[in-house]
Symmetry: C2
Subunit: 389 residues, 2 copies
């Protein structure tokens, strides 16, 4: 295990019918909030009304900015910052999933900058913002884990680069996680969210750090929770108990806890980000494509770790001398699980051919998330895109 620091200061309110607490939770931070949301599903499922009523009851004025799209755009962030400079809210409330929360974080962090370029100086040059508008969250889909962590991932609509930024001041002050509002998610959205959760776990699982028994076990426990509950929820979308399991797992999968003391990889996310920046596919489904391909390419780096993954997570029991067969069975079952949950796992199923492999591999290397388990070159990236065909 390697040394680390950890805290998880976000005040999490978890449970059925908790959305109406948002006014009370926001009141210490704001007399006026920017209410940030996505494409309108929050209006159809009633969450928007509950939020607005609760904020009004708490005497909090509202400035609205809806329309955040998946793979959230930098142009929206700029709009948000401009709106905040004009309207001067005291805080931001993100009502949505990872895209909305990430957009809100970028606005919160960009709000106080003067004479600096948020994109070039912070997203590209990795400077860290030190001051941000306080942020609250109502989580509408378990997936990104952005509700309690410090990171944001934004796509530049002009350059098609997808970049990330992180800072402690971006950690949400509170997060409402109400699994009963997740029942309105489609099966596809639910599955994509869980593919993202699985990917967050796997990015941490495949590490070169030795003696990380505890976090290995916690990651396996988390993977098994998704593997058990996701098919049940897809069969019965109103299974709030199952959705609660997925939601709590989604939060812990990416709030930093499960990667403490170990090096993390993140190449598969890097490979997916380039896909997403060009083809605008769903982030979770993109990961369901890239992760099995990545596994097939890198497993020889540490076959024993892949054997442990296959046996402990997927219950593979095969002749121990045939390491490769066990490893491949683990990867096969991973891919088959995504398929069973209705996700595509190959680029060819998405009508993506090899035309842009070189371009994506080039950007992949430029963006720097090239992996710690195995550090990938541009050529490696092209090979992995080929394996994903």
């Amino acid at each position: 295990m390697i040394g680390f620091t950890y805290s998880s200061p976000t005040h999490i309110v978890f449970g059925t019918n908790t959305v109406s607490q948002v006014g009370t939770l926001m009141k210490p931070y704001a007399k006026k909030v920017l209410l940030h949301y996505g494409g309108g599903s929050v209006k159809r499922n009633g969450v928007y009304d509950t939020v607005v009523t609760s904020l009004k009851e708490a005497g909090i004025a509202i400035v609205e900015l809806g329309g955040v799209v998946p793979n959230p755009r930098y142009s929206m962030v700029e709009t948000g910052i401009e709106l905040c400079k004009k309207e001067q809210p005291d805080a931001i409330l993100a009502v949505g999933g990872g895209s909305v929360i990430d957009s809100a974080k970028a606005i919160a962090g960009g709000y106080y900058l003067e004479g600096e370029d948020l994109w070039e100086d912070y997203f590209v040059a990795h400077r860290k913002v030190t001051k941000a508008l306080p942020l609250g969250v109502v989580l509408t889909i378990p997936a990104a884990g952005s509700e309690t962590n410090s990171g944001t991932v934004i796509t530049n609509d002009v350059t098609h680069y997808k970049m990330s930024m992180g800072a402690n001041c971006l950690i949400p002050k509170f997060a409402i996680i109400d699994p009963s509002i997740h029942v309105s998610l489609s099966k596809y959205q639910t599955a994509c969210g869980c593919a993202d959760i699985i990917a967050h776990l796997l990015e941490r699982y495949f590490t070169n750090t030795k003696r990380v028994d505890y976090t290995d076990r916690l990651l396996e426990a988390s993977l098994q929770t998704v593997i058990y509950n996701l098919p049940r929820v897809l069969e019965n979308p109103n299974d709030v108990d199952g959705r609660a399991e997925l939601a709590w797992c989604g939060t812990l999968a990416h709030n930093g806890l499960l990667g403490k003391g170990r090096e993390e990889d993140w190449a598969s996310h890097g490979l997916q980000h380039e896909l997403g920046a060009i083809y605008d596919i769903n982030h979770g489904e993109g990961l369901a494509v890239m992760f099995p391909a990545w596994m097939k390419y890198v497993w020889k780096q540490d076959p024993k770790r892949f054997v442990q993954y296959a046996t402990r997570v997927w219950g593979v029991q095969m002749a121990e001398h045939d390491e490769e067969a066990i490893v491949m069975e683990g990867i096969y079952r991973t891919e088959q699980f995504f398929k069973r949950c209705g996700l595509r796992t190959r680029l060819s199923e998405m009508d993506i051919d090899d035309t842009k492999f070189e371009e994506m591999a080039e950007k992949f290397v430029f963006c720097g998330k090239t992996g710690k388990f195995v550090k990938l070159t541009k050529e490696d990236a092209v090979e992995i895109y080929r394996l994903a065909q």
Copy 2:
């Protein structure tokens, strides 16, 4: 799963050679600290010197109060409060294990009280303190989990009652967890600490709450981590990597996280507290005695949960129709594990006879920790003490 709130605000600094950061970590809170510690082991193993040097380098003045004993005493808490009222430190630094941290929390919480009785009004009548001196921790033994939670357990030396108190203001501001300083612990101390950790996990594991797959898995992962690492550390006390696994597990086992969304039991702790208040046995070893006895008494409440425990945690694979055999094998392996680690698991081994069973059972019921999985009466408690003979 049931609804909950959660945050873990303590800034944890984990890793080898981190004790010397204590001055820097304390500086934002204090120009003068009460340095609170136990019986002198911190002086023998060098931790005291490292702490004092670091505090001095940070320009922090020190008032000392050593001498905290296991099952920390209320008389020491009173001494500490008096000393703080005289010396006016800005914060308390606890250098020790659960006893020292709990003593420090009680002093921190009692410091601001005026015209109220800390013992009667807060420990006995469960009022919650709202203001406390800021507290920092250097953890010298993984066991109690007190380093990141809000609770304190104190024994009244006059009445022999062991009572607890909890409040958010008692949560430590920072906790240094340096596994390299744990190598000086004796095998017995190490094993007792881990028995406490196991008990914290089991108190949460045995629940009547349904659909708690995720926390079940996380608890099993934690149990397996102790089961794997403790014997290795006992064989090789200088195995800092193994000690790191135990330390991180000990913190997460009792910071609230693993019990979120489920009812917890705590009867075994209650039964042990009465033992500890009268016989002054080690808390962890007392739990190694009481938990198997409690299990034998209550398993019929939910045989399937005990089967899950036996199969998932201990790998019991027996004919599925014979539920009782599987359950008993799981309990047997629990007890044998404690024995293997050098702990006594029966009262008779501690020369404790049945003379005080009635008295302890009476106090057990009075103190209120009578269990949620099965709510125990005084008669039940006597029966469990008999099973522990």
